[in-house]
Structure formats: C-alpha cells, structure tokens
C-alpha cells in the first residue's frame, strides 16, 4: 500500500540563549490511507508541533514530509490545505464568529482553492449544508445563525464539519474535544468516529483522554520528549489496558 504521509527524520529545534531544545527529535512516521491514528503524550511532548509541521504552520528545522510521495516540506500552508484539514482544541479557533454557519461551511467548501472575484454560491449550497447538519440536533435549523451566538460544543461541531465538508486526504484533530463538557465531548467524539469510518477518512487525532485513545482508532502512538516511544497497530492496541498505557507517561 502506498503511504499517504511520510515524515522522515523530522527535527524541530527551539533556539534559546543558553540551551537549544529539540521539540521534535528525529521523528519517523508513516501514515497509510484509512489509518485512524491516535496520538498520546504529555504536555510538551511535541504532539501539536508535529501537527503544525504537517500543516505547514510551523516549518521543520530539518527532515522531510512527503504526501502521496510528493515532497511538501517547503510548501506553504495554503497549498497544503488543499489536502490536509485541521480541527483545533479551542472552539473559537476554527470558525469565523461574525459569519453564519452556512457562510462558514461555504468558506470551508473551497478549502485550499483560489478565492475569485465572483459571487459566492450560498443559496445553491444550502440544501447540501442542510443535509449535512440535519442529523445533528445541536446545529439543525441554525444555518443562518451567526457563529458567535453558538455554544462551544456547537462551534466545535461546526469546525469538525468544516474540516470534512470538502473531503480531506488527511484529517488532523488537535484535542478537538478537550475544551468541551463531558457529555458534549462524548457526543462529538461519537460523531467524529462515525464520520471517519463512514467516509473512510485518514485521521490523526491527538488526545489526552486515555479511554478515548483505547476506544477509537486503529493505531496508537505515544510521544515523549519529541520522540515516538510506542507505535501499535489495532491488534496490539486492543491487548492494552489504560493502566498499561499510563506507564508510558
């Protein structure tokens, strides 16, 4: 199987006056199509930095990133966004507050494409957006609601829908349920899992929740001090318990 994403000898160094710190220390990682990779690690382990490097928000100090075999190491964020979408931890990070739910979805539908001087097609897309949110009680009938009027859970659900509305080759979830209350977090995680499996998306999900890490995904890695210290496939992962995982922290 041709890998979707290959990270080769990735190093990210922060230069201080006294000491240089490797946030990512020689990371080698291959993600195959339909992988649902769960990433665990303590704060400062380099999880978000790894996602930043993949999206192009933060460039690597050295190393390479290949997408479908093409070197994207030096490609900018805009070019990479055609293939990669990301949901952030903070519900406010993923949506435009003074635009409506439908306007946000329309923006996301043209993710990575040039924005031309032609009228947007909001009305034409409304039936599609209506269908997208029809099974979601939290967002149903809210297409014309300004995003700033939505709750954190509703905004994060919208961020997730925006990330998948134009099918991404790689979906990155950066602790996307961490800022929500337990019930909303559970609901969004269930929705996330359902859609990933239904659409056969390739996904990399960072979480601090060990039970979510055990329950979801078909692969698990643990990062510690910028290095991958554990990489398990579905079979190996299923043999683990939460207390087994704890010893890696």
């Amino acid at each position: 199987m041709k890998p979707l994403l290959e990270i080769k000898d990735a190093v990210k160094t922060i230069y201080n006056d006294d000491d240089n710190l490797n946030i990512l220390n020689n990371i080698n990682l291959t993600i195959n199509p339909k992988d649902f990779l769960v990433v665990l690690g303590t704060n400062g382990a380099g999880k978000s930095t790894l996602l930043d490097a993949i999206t192009g928000t933060n460039k690597l100090t050295s190393g390479k990133i290949l997408l479908n075999g093409d070197d994207i190491t030096n490609e900018n964020l805009a070019k990479r966004s055609r293939h990669i979408s990301r949901v952030y931890q903070d519900p406010k990070s993923g949506t435009a507050p003074r635009m409506t739910v439908a306007e946000n979805l329309l923006l996301a539908k043209r993710r990575g494409l040039p924005r031309r001087l032609r009228l947007r097609k909001l009305k034409e897309n409304m039936p599609e957006f209506q269908k997208l949110i029809s099974n979601l009680p939290t967002l149903d009938n809210r297409l014309n609601t300004f995003t700033e009027k939505l709750s954190g859970g509703q905004r994060q659900t919208l961020s997730f829908l925006m990330a998948i509305t134009q099918r991404p080759e790689l979906l990155l979830l950066d602790e996307h349920t961490a800022a929500l209350d337990p019930q909303t977090s559970k609901d969004l995680m269930e929705l996330t899992n359902k859609i990933i499996l239904e659409k056969e998306l390739t996904c990399m999900m960072i979480t601090h929740d060990l039970s979510d890490a055990m329950k979801y995904g078909n692969r698990l890695i643990v990062l510690k001090k910028g290095e991958i210290i554990l990489d398990l496939d579905k079979t190996e992962k299923d043999k683990l318990t939460e207390s087994d995982l704890l010893q890696y922290f």
């Binding site: 635009m99 923006l107 990575g112």
Partner: protein, 296 residues
C-alpha cells in the same frame, strides 16, 4: 433650516470616509491611522489637478488611486515587514505629510476655478446645500452597492474571514496577506476620494486637514452601531450614514450652545468617548436597576 440642511449635507459626504474606515476598523478588525494622511492626500490631489485644468471626475479618480497606494504602503509595512499595524499607519501618515506638501507645493491651496463637482451635472440648479445631499446619496449608493457586491464574492468573503479569524482563514488556504492588502487599499482609496470631495465642497485643500478624521469616522461607525445594534453587514453600511448625520447634528447643537469652534476637536473626542462608553454605561445602569428591584 439652512443650517440643518448644511449639516445633513456634511453628514452624507463625511459618511463616505467612515464607510472606508469601516473596512479596516470593523471588517479587518484593526485601527488604521493611515486615513489621517490619505484623507488630505485625496484633497490635495483633487485640488491640484482641478487647478491645473483637469476635470473634477478625473481628479477624484486619481485621488482614489493615490489613496489605494497609501493603503498599499501601510499593508506592505504591516503584512510583509511585520510592523505593528498602529505603527505602520503612523509611519505612512507621517510620510504622506511630506508627499502632500510636495503635491500641493505649499501648505494650503484654494480652488480658484469656478468648477467643482458640486456645481456640475445639474447639481447647481438645486437649492443651497441640497447639491451636497444629492451628490452624497449618489456616491454613497454607488460605494455601498459595490461594497455589498464585493463582500458577497469569494474574495470579499475571504477578506471578512481574515478579519474575523485569521488562524481559521489561513488554515482554509486563504492568503491572509493579500486580503489585508485589498482591505487597506480599498479603505484608503475611499477615504482619499472623500478628501477630494470635501476639498471641493470647502473650496480649498490643506495638508493639515486630516487631523482628527479618524475620530469623525469612528464616531459615525459607533453611533450607527449604538442606534442599530446587531444588524447584517449590508445594513451596517447604511447605519454608518445615519451615524454620520447624527454625529454632525450633535456637533451642530453643541456649537449652537455657544462653544468655541477652537474646541471642535475636543468636543469630537468627547462625543466619541461617550459613544464608546455608552454600552458599558447602559449595562451598568441596567445592572443597578435590576439590583435595585431585587432589594425591594
């Protein structure tokens, strides 16, 4: 009566500048000091061109283009060289003072030619001061129409998204740097165009006529928002016009009460400060009222 009509006429013309300022202040969500330089830039450009024999429409077109270039300079400092926006605007504004002097050749110039846009195209047949109102309505209608069309294009939506949430916009592949350039250029173009209109209405251009225009523009925007909160973007553009007229009427009343005209800038600043503080004062008042009711 004539004073009120004159005040309303000024309100219409100044609201064009406020609409330009709205693009940076509310859509892109940052304060742009460039307007204090681009406003007199438009004025000196228009007066110089008319004085040298060019048509009034041509002078306004060139004023608009020069304003766009001023916006480009600020955008370059801010979006390309990472100079903080406030400082970038101040730098361009300062540089424009010298450029305006160069264009005009002196600190101020009167329009000795009898033609200006307020007495052309049949506007001279209207009663006194009504020409300003009619011209203002035509220009405002045109600018609001074009802005609404633009903001409903993919590019316009990208500009709004950039001001709303830059992180999100960038992650969706929007080139936020380009959007800042577009916003600053269009904004300062409109402000310079207003400078050209005001100079023709007043019959002179002065390199110092930009001092305080940001306060005038912000007052119109804020008063509009206080009167009509929570309205869609297209309606907000119209509320700016209403805000501008109300602001001018407030100034007129204050001056009629016998205040010294030298205190005009001070009064303008106090009016803006009051308008900005109004939501907080109103919330505090309502809170006190509620607590009072509970105590009883």
């Amino acid at each position: 009566m004539n004073l009120i009509v004159s005040t309303i006429s000024q309100g219409f013309i100044w609201s064009i500048m406020a609409i330009g300022l709205f693009i940076t202040f509310r859509i892109l969500d940052f304060p742009d000091m460039t307007v204090e330089g681009s406003f007199p830039l438009g004025a000196v450009t228009a007066i110089s061109l008319i004085q040298s024999g060019h048509s009034t429409l041509y002078s306004l077109l060139i004023a608009f283009i020069f304003g766009c270039l001023a916006g480009f300079a600020t955008a370059f400092l801010y979006a390309k060289l990472n100079v903080p926006i406030l400082l970038a605007g101040i730098l361009t504004m300062t540089a424009l003072y010298s450029i305006n002097l160069r264009i005009l050749g002196k600190a101020n110039m009167s329009l000795t030619k009898s033609t200006n846009i307020f007495n052309q195209f049949g506007l001279n047949k209207l009663p006194t001061n009504f020409n300003g109102i009619i011209l203002g309505i035509i220009v405002i209608a045109l600018i609001i129409f074009l802005l609404i069309i633009f903001l409903n294009t993919e590019k316009g939506q990208a500009v709004i998204a950039t001001g709303d949430n830059e992180t999100m916009a960038a992650s969706l592949g929007i080139n936020t740097t380009v959007m800042k350039f577009i916003g600053l250029m269009v904004s300062n173009g409109i402000v310079a165009l207003t400078g050209g209109l005001i100079a023709q209405q007043n019959g002179f251009a002065d390199v110092n006529m930009g001092i305080g225009v940001i306060v005038i523009g912000l007052s119109a925007i804020i008063i509009g928002e206080v009167i009509y909160p929570d309205v869609p973007l297209s309606i907000r553009l119209i509320t700016i016009v209403i805000g501008s007229i109300v602001y001018r009427l407030i100034l007129m009343v204050v001056l009629q009460l016998g205040f010294n005209t030298n205190d005009l800038k001070l009064i303008s600043a106090i009016i803006l400060a009051l308008c900005l503080a109004l939501p907080t004062i109103r919330a505090q008042f309502l809170k006190t009222l509620r607590n009072g009711v509970k105590t009883k």
